[in-house]
Symmetry: C2
Subunit: 274 residues, 2 copies
């Protein structure tokens, strides 16, 4: 095989691959490739989940805005994210407890074995890994979390419930801040709008970041809260970023604040869908 191709409607991204390192068909079809220009790449059901070259763009932007807006994010729930990149970023804030709920055990095991972008995070003693459906987990959980982070795939039969009204409602009740990746508003407008329609919080905001190997490169995130202000206040963010000694390759406090500024068409779209 020379090129891996991911289609999204009338466009597609091709990534040149050296070889397929491993594949397994279980709950999802998992493929791990060695690519020519992007390092190793994880693909689930034909969709690129990350490449080593730009995974930090995504994981840092998913994690740090919500974590840094919380003055003391000591208890964190991660739903999905079996590759461990999200938990790796969460640990930079020195929480007391991180619970990761990943439905597909194979993703955890194969990423750990063949890629290792968690850099040991999933073995950290503060991290518990639970192999369960995320919606089931929050439905039956009696716990509260400072921050809940959803690191899911494109909506599909396995992950569809992670964009449901019920799921967002429960998450809003049991967290101070909730954040989810919310797809590409340019390339996957139906998914983006479905998330906007279902994710009701007292306050919510959309922010953006570049992820070159995701559809269109223009990627969005939704942060919501029923209790807190979602106010990117640069001075506070800078202070916490320094106090927590966070090291990054993409995120900075200035990037945080500017990522909430949306192009006009997207500001309009976000205002229209309620």
């Amino acid at each position: 095989m020379d090129w891996f191709v991911e289609y999204y409607n009338g466009s597609a991204l091709m990534i040149k691959v050296k070889k397929l390192i491993f594949e397994k068909k279980g709950l999802q079809h998992i493929q791990i490739f060695e690519t020519v220009d992007f390092g190793k790449m994880l693909v689930l059901d034909g969709k690129i989940q990350f490449t080593e070259r730009d995974e930090a763009f995504y994981h840092e932007m998913l994690v740090h805005p919500a974590m840094i807006m919380h003055e003391n994010p000591s208890k964190v729930l991660v739903i999905g994210g079996g590759d461990g990149g999200t938990v790796r970023e969460v640990l930079k804030h020195d929480p007391n407890e991180v619970v990761m709920v990943e439905i597909d055990r194979n993703v955890i095991e194969l990423c750990r074995k063949f890629i290792g972008i968690d850099r040991g995070a999933l073995n950290d003693e503060r991290v518990s890994v639970i192999n369960e459906d995320g919606v089931e987990f929050v439905r039956s959980s009696k716990e509260r979390f400072d921050v809940i982070i959803v690191d899911g795939t494109d909506p599909n039969p396995v992950s569809q419930s992670l964009i449901s009204k019920e799921f967002y409602t429960i998450c809003g009740e049991i967290s101070d801040y909730f954040v989810t990746q919310s797809q590409s508003p340019f390339a996957q407008r139906e998914f983006f709008e479905a998330i906007l329609r279902n994710a009701k919080f007292r306050e919510r905001r959309i922010y953006l970041g570049y992820v070159p190997t995701y559809p269109s490169g223009l990627w969005s995130y939704l942060i919501g809260s029923n209790r807190r202000k979602i106010q990117p206040d640069l001075e506070t963010i800078r202070r916490r970023f320094e106090e927590r000694r966070i090291e990054t390759t993409y995120y900075t406090p200035e990037v945080h604040v500017s990522s909430f500024i949306l192009p006009k068409w997207l500001e309009d779209l976000t205002g229209r869908v309620r």
Copy 2:
């Protein structure tokens, strides 16, 4: 033909096409497609120049930051940009005179005939269209311009001289503000670095915007000046944006300011290359 493919190193973008509307081989190989999801699309020598769906993302971000930082951009030079999208945006600032220097007459004629994104701008009485090499033009010109805008293709034998030291030096001498698209620092790092090395100005800044149909979707622009401050001052920008009654689909004064905030890896790269 079902899919158009543009390769950039180890990745490629595919765009689904309904039909090839027209093609002509002259100075450059020009192709105009009707696509499935992106409207009409112009391709030069195998490289996507724009699609109707996202051309405004590019043209607005190329034009408005430099134009709005000038208190009175009455005389403007556009180099390249034969499709007329750049001149269309320039005219929103109500200049007295716009000179467009495009080396390839076919691009102008075919875009006008088959696409028309200039929306009449190239027929405006304030606009002169000159069919000449951009470097030759500035070398022999005795004129000064408030703003010079370079809307060129990826460096190739036809456009290579538009990223030369000589060209940037002359442009710096005869303008208040100079701006050029500067390729994707993610997907085309060699081009980006070559531009950074050659484009010396007393002051210069890089800014970013999303262009989904350009390599990686992460697109950069370089603005330079030997005379003026390059200071995205939100209050001034907002006032001018309102006074000039500019209507856009992507650019806003807030987007302007936030586009100068770079991800850490790019801030580092930009600082290293001098």
